[in-house]
C-alpha cells in the first residue's frame, strides 16, 4: 500500500508519472522513480527470488540499498539485477530469479 498525504503525518510524497511493467507475466502499476522491489512491495509481492540449491527457499527484500543481494531478479532478460535499486520503467519485463542466472 502506498501512503497518501492523508495517511502519513510528516511526509508528502511526490510521485513520478504512472507506468506499468510486468512481473512474471502479470501487469503491475507503478510510478517513475520507484525501484522495482519497492513497486512490487506496494503491490503485495514479497518473494523476489528463490535460493540456490535444492530447498528453493523464498528470497525477499532485505536491505533495500543494494548491499545484500537478496533481491536479485531477471529484468528485461538480464539476471542478477538488484531490484531494490534498479528503477522501474514503463514496459519493463521483471521475473522471479530461480537460479544463479546467466552472465
Amino acid at each position: 500500500m502506498r501512503f497518501t498525504e492523508n495517511t502519513h503525518p510528516i511526509l508528502d510524497f511526490k510521485r513520478g508519472a504512472p507506468i506499468t511493467f510486468t512481473f512474471d507475466g502479470v501487469t503491475v502499476a507503478a510510478f517513475e522513480g520507484e525501484p522495482i522491489a519497492v513497486a512490487l512491495h506496494a503491490a503485495g509481492v514479497r518473494t523476489l527470488a528463490t535460493s540456490l540449491g535444492e530447498q528453493k527457499r523464498p528470497r525477499g527484500l532485505y536491505c533495500a540499498i543494494g548491499n545484500c543481494s537478496s533481491c536479485m531478479m531477471v529484468v528485461d532478460g538480464v539476471s542478477n539485477v538488484k531490484s531494490c535499486i534498479e528503477l522501474v520503467r514503463d514496459g519493463m519485463v521483471v521475473e522471479t530469479q530461480h537460479d544463479k542466472g546467466a552472465l
Binding site: A42, P58, G60, Y62, C63, C68, I85
Partner: protein
C-alpha cells in the same frame, strides 16, 4: 584517465560536508556516489536531529541533505556524479577505478580510471545481520529497509512489526512506524539495558510499545513469508531460557543490531586497520585530521567508526579541511575551524557511556 585534486567516495552526510570544506578552500573535488541520488541515509531521516545548530539540530534529516546540496551547487569546483561505484584502489600507482552504471540493465557499464592527489573515503556502513532460524524469510528486513520503503518511497512496509534492537535505529524506526500507523508489537534487545537515547525509548513507552531487554529472537516462521516471531528471554550468558518464549503474529521482523563500516576500499588501499567493537568493526587508524596511515587518504563518517549522522557531518568537515591543507590550499582560519569541529565532536560523543570516545582513542595515531 580523470585527474582531480580530491576524490570523495560517497555523497552521504560525511562526503557532502567534506566536499563543501575542501571546495571552499579551492580544491577541485570529484564526488562519486553509487546511488541514484546524493544524501546517503539522510534522505530517509524524518526525525529532527539533536546536537547543536552547527549540526542542523531541530532540522529533519532530509532537509539537511537539501541544505548541504544547495551549498555544494554554488561551488563550480565540486563535481558530483551519481550511479557510480568506486570499485578499487591500487596502492602501486595511486589509481582508483569506478564503474558507471548503464541507463538500463542491458546497457554495459563503463569503467573509468581516476588519479586523485588525495582521497576521502566516506562510504558509510552496512547493517549487521543476525543469525537465527528463519532469518531468510521474506518479511525479515534490515530496519533501514523498512525506513527506506516508508520514508523514501511512501510505501506502508507492513502491518505488525517486531523490532530487534533497542539502539537508536531500532527505537527511531519503531517510532516512525507507529507514526505511520504500523503496529509495533515489541522492541527487544539482547542487552540488559536500552542502548539508544532514553528520549526515543520514552516516546515508544508512552505509545504502549513494550521494550523487552534481555530478550532476543528464537525463530521466525511462516509459509513463504513471515507469519510468526518467537522471542525469548536471555540469561546472564546471553543464552535463551526455555519456557520464556512469547509468540507474536507479525508480518515484519526488523533487524537493528548495529552497523559495520564499509571499509573495503581502505583494505585495498593498504591502510592499517584495527578491530574496534565500539566503532562497529574494522576501522582505519587515523589522526586528528581523519588522515589514515596513507598520507593521501582520509576518512569521514561511519566508515571511520559507526556513530551518527551528526558526527558524520563533523568528521566530514575535518577530513575536508585536512585534505585541503594536505593539497596545499590556504584554508582561511584553518586552526579555528578545526578547533570548532573537534569541540563539536567532543560534545556529540559525550554520551554512550564513553564507549565511542574510547573506541576512537584506540584507533588514533
Amino acid at each position: 584517465m580523470i585527474h582531480t585534486d580530491l576524490l570523495i567516495c560517497g555523497a552521504g552526510p560525511a562526503g557532502l560536508c567534506a566536499a563543501i570544506e575542501a571546495g571552499a578552500a579551492g580544491a577541485n573535488v570529484l564526488v562519486l556516489e553509487r546511488g541514484h541520488a546524493p544524501g546517503g541515509q539522510l534522505v530517509k531521516q524524518t526525525h529532527m536531529f539533536f546536537g547543536s545548530e552547527k549540526q542542523y539540530a531541530s532540522y529533519r534529516g532530509f532537509d539537511i541533505s537539501d541544505i548541504l546540496l544547495a551549498q555544494m551547487k554554488e561551488m563550480p569546483n565540486i563535481k558530483l556524479v551519481c550511479n557510480t561505484t568506486v570499485l578499487a584502489a591500487y596502492s602501486d600507482d595511486g589509481i582508483w577505478t569506478a564503474e558507471i552504471a548503464g541507463q538500463t540493465p542491458n546497457d554495459k557499464p563503463r569503467y573509468e580510471k581516476i588519479l586523485p592527489k588525495a582521497v576521502i573515503v566516506a562510504t558509510g556502513a552496512s547493517e549487521k545481520p543476525l543469525l537465527f532460524p528463519g532469518n531468510d524469510l521474506p518479511g525479515v528486513y534490515g530496519a533501514g529497509a523498512v525506513q527506506t520503503l516508508m520514508n523514501q518511497y511512501g510505501i506502508k512496509p507492513a502491518s505488525r512489526v517486531v523490532m530487534l534492537g533497542a539502539g537508536n535505529i531500532g527505537l527511531i524506526v519503531s517510532y516512525q512506524l507507529m507514526q505511520a500507523g504500523v503496529d509495533v508489537l515489541a522492541v527487544c534487545d539482547a542487552a540488559p539495558h536500552i542502548g539508544g537515547y532514553l528520549v526515543h525509548a520514552s516516546k515508544l513507552a508512552r505509545m504502549g510499545v513494550p521494550i523487552m531487554t534481555s530478550h532476543s529472537v528464537k525463530r521466525a516462521e511462516g509459509d513463504g513469508k513471515l507469519d510468526r516471531v518467537t522471542l525469548w528471554e536471555l540469561d546472564e550468558n546471553w543464552q535463551g531460557i526455555a519456557g520464556t518464549e512469547k509468540v507474536f503474529a507479525a508480518d515484519a521482523l526488523c533487524v537493528a543490531v548495529g552497523l559495520s563500516p564499509l571499509s573495503e576500499l581502505l583494505w585495498q588501499a593498504g591502510a592499517e586497520m584495527l578491530y574496534v567493537p565500539a566503532l562497529g568493526g574494522y576501522v582505519p587508524y587515523r589522526d586528528e585530521n581523519l588522515r589514515t596511515t596513507i598520507p593521501s587518504i582520509f576518512v569521514a563518517g561511519d566508515v571511520a567508526g559507526v556513530e551518527e549522522a551528526s558526527s558524520a557531518m563533523v568528521t566530514g568537515r575535518l577530513a575536508g579541511l585536512g585534505a585541503a591543507q594536505y593539497l596545499g590550499y590556504d584554508v582561511i582560519a584553518l586552526e579555528a575551524k578545526k578547533e570548532d569541529c573537534l569541540g563539536q565532536l567532543q560534545s556529540l560523543r559525550h554520551g554512550h557511556g564513553g564507549r565511542i570516545l574510547e573506541g576512537i582513542q584506540q584507533a588514533s595515531l
